[in-house]
């Protein structure tokens, strides 16, 4: 089995060698990986470490303050950098998932370059883990923190060397390292949060009001599912544009597998998926049906994605809707060990419906709230 104690010892030694007495900067997003990475680095190189949290504006409610408070407790001195306007103005109006991720990555590393020079550091330590580079190298999605593995030389491109102590680990192993390092359970057991944050949950075109609705919907889901047992490994909401067309063909297929009348709308919105090790940027199908039978719902998503393999990547089930609104809010909750494959959580429909009501109440632009039925594969965990 994985031995977190010896990993920490080995990794501390390697970092000391790689960094060699230089000042190093560590980037934090508030997620588990970067937090564990920062604490590990602080144990390895002590006061030579500068920790920075960039508030990209794509953060959860109250995230910057939460992270600062907890890192201070761990003895990591954190500098919070407000870059909200810089990120939103770079991204506003862009729709394509990969384009958005790449703009985010470039904005992020350029800004980092500035901070690195200001802090007189030559090294950036970051918490990239195995699924990040596996997905990026495989062309599934461009994780913002993956550079050298896809041929970007950070020293040439941005002016600093990158050190990545967690590169060979999976999430469950990172948590064990965090626990061994003495992080509180609140920190090491925290659900993952993507580096680009809410950006990958603001599906399609980026707009300021859409980011706000996403933030509110996520807060409802995090609050609603936090007591669920067994706990899901990740749970959040995404916001999609509601425009789409009813498909007779898919309505019929869905009806057949659900044994219930079903109306299927193919949204214009696209979501990222992975099938046969290949990226699939397909459309999102919204099913309106009374069915609450998870086995039938799972069979339905399987058949719809397999039969429409060239254009559909994800399937959602409508929970509640109202007449007007330009957005769909999608609740996503999953179970997994390593995040390379996941299944959806079988949440009681009563609980799903009450979260749906609350989201409709808090986000007036949302027309319908749905639950995502697609596992990974064929979908990915995040929408983009």
């Amino acid at each position: 089995m994985f031995d977190s104690k010896s990993f920490i010892e080995k990794s501390k030694g390697e970092m000391q060698k790689q960094i060699g007495g230089e000042r190093a900067l560590c980037a934090l997003s508030g997620g588990v990986d970067s937090t564990v990475c920062a604490v590990l680095a602080s144990k390895a190189i002590g006061s030579s470490l500068r920790a920075v949290f960039i508030d990209t504006g794509f953060m959860r409610e109250d995230e910057p303050a939460w992270v600062k408070k907890h890192l201070d407790k761990m003895g990591v001195n954190l500098r919070v950098f407000d870059a909200r306007e810089r990120f939103i103005s770079a991204l506003e109006g862009h729709s394509d998932a990969e384009e958005k991720r790449k703009i985010f990555r470039d904005t992020f590393y350029k800004l980092f370059g500035e901070i690195v020079r200001e802090e007189k550091c030559k090294i950036l330590i970051q918490g990239t883990i195995a699924p990040d580079w596996i997905e990026t190298k495989g062309g599934i999605k461009s994780q913002h923190n993956v550079l050298s593995q896809i041929g970007i030389d950070p020293e040439k491109e941005f002016g600093y060397k990158v050190v990545e102590p967690l590169l060979q680990l999976y999430k469950d192993q990172v948590r064990l390292v965090g626990k061994e390092l003495g992080l509180s359970e609140e920190l090491y057991a925290r659900q993952p949060f993507p580096g680009p944050g809410l950006l990958v949950r603001v599906v399609g075109e980026v707009r300021r009001d859409k980011v706000e609705d996403t933030r509110k919907a996520i807060a409802v889901v995090e609050e609603g599912l936090k007591g669920l047992s067994p706990p899901p490994q990740q749970y959040f909401a995404a916001i999609l544009d509601s425009k789409g067309k009813i498909s007779e063909k898919i309505s019929k297929e869905a009806g057949e597998f659900l044994g219930e009348k079903a109306k299927a709308t193919v949204l214009d919105a696209r979501g990222t998926g992975v099938t046969g090790d290949i990226r699939r940027y397909g459309k999102v199908v919204l099913i309106d049906s009374k069915s609450t039978d998870y086995m039938a719902l799972n069979k339905t998503q399987f058949e719809i994605v397999s039969r429409n393999k060239d254009d559909v990547s994800r399937v959602l089930l409508v929970l509640k809707s109202q007449k007007e609104g330009k957005y769909i809010a999608a609740i996503r909750s999953i179970q997994t060990r390593d995040f390379m494959t996941v299944v959806i959580t079988k949440i009681p429909f009563e609980l799903l419906n009450s979260m749906a009501e609350e989201i409709l109440g808090r986000c007036p632009n949302v027309k319908a709230v749905a639950y995502e039925l697609t596992p990974k594969p064929p979908a990915t965990v995040e929408f983009e």
Binding site: F2, I140, V274, D277, S306, M340, P377
Partner: protein
């Protein structure tokens, strides 16, 4: 005991490495350019080959070296997904587009509870994510398992330690986790003697 993993570009190749290490074997990730000499130099007791996005009938060139190694090296080999299809090709069978691609858990029915599927009969669920499959079994091979849409979910050479699986035993969505790798390690140990 060293059991390297050939990285073919799929999403779960690195997970194979993780499982083998957790089961107590030594493992290293190696490339598609792996030759017989390299395996001998590493003192490999067995070889696991992962999945990948390639299509065997269209991208054979990329597999020329590995294909030769499969034929030349005597050590036990396990091919998963695209390398299961490669193994079929190397021994005279055929791989091509599946009539019904499968993306998700599928029930796999065991036809023969051979060494590699030991303890998994009469059926199990396994994660599938494939567009292609083995469409013609190579001579001297036998089918070990099938599913509703895919006739050859698992196969083996009747005389040599060559095993192929269409599904992904290295993911937690397969109920076989980690049985098949325990079986493969046992096969390698037996072969070493």
């Amino acid at each position: 005991m060293m059991i390297p993993v050939v990285e073919v570009g799929g999403q779960y190749n690195h997970l194979i490495h993780r499982i083998l290490t957790e089961l107590g074997a030594e493992s290293e990730i190696i490339g598609l350019d792996t030759t017989l000499e390299k395996l001998e130099k590493m003192n490999a007791a067995g070889l696991v080959m992962g999945g990948g996005p390639q299509r065997i009938d269209k991208e054979l060139g990329a597999f020329a070296t590995l294909g030769k190694t499969i034929k030349d090296s005597p050590i036990p080999m396990l091919g998963i997904c695209v390398t299961h299809q490669l193994m079929a090709f190397v021994y005279g069978g055929k791989a091509g587009a599946a009539k019904s691609p499968e993306y998700g858990e599928v029930e796999v029915i065991v036809d023969k509870e051979d060494d590699i599927l030991m303890g998994l009969g009469p059926k199990f669920t396994a994660l599938q994510t494939h567009n292609d499959e083995v469409v013609k079994l190579p001579p001297k091979f036998e089918i070990l398992a099938h599913s509703e849409h895919c006739k050859i979910q698992a196969m083996r050479h009747k005389l040599l330690p060559r095993f192929g699986l269409q599904f992904h035993p290295e993911t937690v969505r397969s109920s076989t986790d980690p049985r098949i790798f325990e079986n493969f390690i046992r096969i390698c140990k037996k072969f070493e003697k």
